[in-house]
């Protein structure tokens, strides 16, 4: 890709920012702060040490909730998918829990864990665990029988069949599932922080509004959430470029 093509989306963003600035300066009716004021809000947050602190707080909760969910849900999902009967038994339960928004759990998580980090982490855990379980179930069920048969043919024990065939065969799909789920977890942490805690980027947004309608801080918080979400997604996406996994992502 040439430099010009790479720069194109950035140029487009710059144009939008400019348009935003011009529009607000011509129509100053407080529908939105202008970009320069938002930039000022970033500087203010950074100077007060809140920017870094809130980012760390949000990432901390997402990391713990997400990792806990991965450690519980992936092995559980793999086992459920491997033993069809378990899947048939558990499927109705999973289907009932699935449409319940993680946010509906906020009152219960506060009841159980009080206002604080653990409640927020629990919400992230809930939001991540179900999609990860489903991903793992689907991943196991879509392993071509030929791989399992080949593994058995070479005399693998049940344990090494899991380690040497099942596990590598599901990794590419699991990574896609992890990436999508991390996106969900990041959406949920912001919502959880608006209610269950008093730090983090979600808290920044409600707090800025409550404490004097500081919409410049609100928009700064939103942009920060977007940028970090993008970074998380890019990080997960880079895993898809590992050479031994690439087979799982192309048609050929």
């Amino acid at each position: 890709m040439s430099l010009l093509v790479r720069l194109r989306p950035w140029a487009f963003i710059a144009v939008l920012l400019l348009a935003w600035q011009i529009a607000i300066s011509r129509q100053p009716n407080h529908l939105l702060p202008d970009p320069i004021t938002v930039l000022g809000a970033f500087v203010e947050l950074a100077r007060r040490g809140l920017l870094f602190k809130y980012i760390v707080a949000s990432l901390f909760r997402v990391t713990w909730g997400f990792l806990l969910a991965a450690f519980v849900a992936i092995p559980a999902g793999l086992a459920i998918g491997w033993y069809r009967r378990t899947e048939m038994a558990l499927n109705p339960l999973i289907q009932i829990f699935r449409p319940i928004s993680p946010l509906a759990w906020i009152p219960i998580s506060i009841l159980w864990f009080g206002v604080g980090d653990i409640a927020a982490i629990f919400l992230i855990f809930l939001a991540s665990a179900l999609p990860l379980t489903l991903t793992a179930i689907n991943a196991v069920e879509s392993i071509p029988a030929v791989y399992v048969n080949a593994g058995r043919n070479f005399g693998l024990s049940q344990a090494s069949l899991v380690y040497r065939v099942l596990y590598p065969a599901v990794i590419p799909q699991l990574i896609i599932g992890l990436r999508i789920t991390l996106g969900i977890a990041w959406l949920v942490v912001v919502a959880a922080e608006m209610i269950a805690v008093n730090s983090g980027l979600g808290f920044l947004i409600v707090d800025a509004r409550n404490a004097g309608n500081r919409y410049d801080l609100v928009v700064a918080g939103m942009i920060m959430i977007g940028l970090i979400g993008l970074c998380l997604d890019m990080g997960m996406r880079s895993l898809e470029n590992i050479r031994s996994l690439r087979w799982g992502y192309s048609e050929d």
């Binding site: 080949a150 043919n153 087979w247």
Partner: protein, 268 residues
Amino acid sequence: MSTQASNIVNAGPTAARAVKTKLRAQGLSMVFRRDGKETSVLDNISLDVHEGEFICLLGPSGCGKSTMLNAMAGFLAPTSGTVTIDDEAVVGPDPRRIFVFQERGVFPWLTVEGNIGFGLFKLSKEERERRIAYYIKLVGLQGFEKAYPQELSGGMKQRLEVARALAVNPDMLFLDEPFGALDSITRLIMRGELLRIWEQEKKTIIFVTHDIEEAVQLSDRVVVMSARPAKIQQIVEIDIPHPRDISSPRYLELRDGIFEQIGLAHKV
């Protein structure tokens, strides 16, 4: 017996040789049940395969020849009948006999080396590396040791799967239409390679195909199967030494005999 003698294709006098039975299928029947309906796929099939023999199971698509191969390899339990190999009942897959599933069977997450070494986990590191190198050379994949299957052509993947099978030094190979997905030129080359390897390694091979030419070019005996439920229609001994001249009168006679047996006029 379901085997019929034919006077069209006479096997002719075979060289007297001590034949030891490697695999014996007796009264093999297979009935699949789905949605309350029963489909009979194999009907009372008996077959003896000699040690070191190259057998082709030939029949139309969907006739049940793959089912028969899977039953002989231990992946499917027959509804009735038995399979014994070296007088031992087959109860499941075994590393002493490897099934080659077209090119689809290679593990995409392992390199060429990793695939060939897959079944060698009981060997020492040195022995494993020695065998990997030997079989990479045997199937002509030098220079591709670190390549992933995705980066190989169809023919190379096929050779890789054969190499992975041979590396564990099995005494039998089951090949299920292994060259079906290849273009006709690669297919011809692969047949030559397989014969070369077979002559070098002295394995017993059971090869499933729906290609009459392929069966006559490769095998010692062609087992012609009927449409479902599969029975053995005829067993044709191919008494032409390798390398076979595929325009010789004897080759054409045997081939045309099978064409007639299957009920195809040999005209397009």
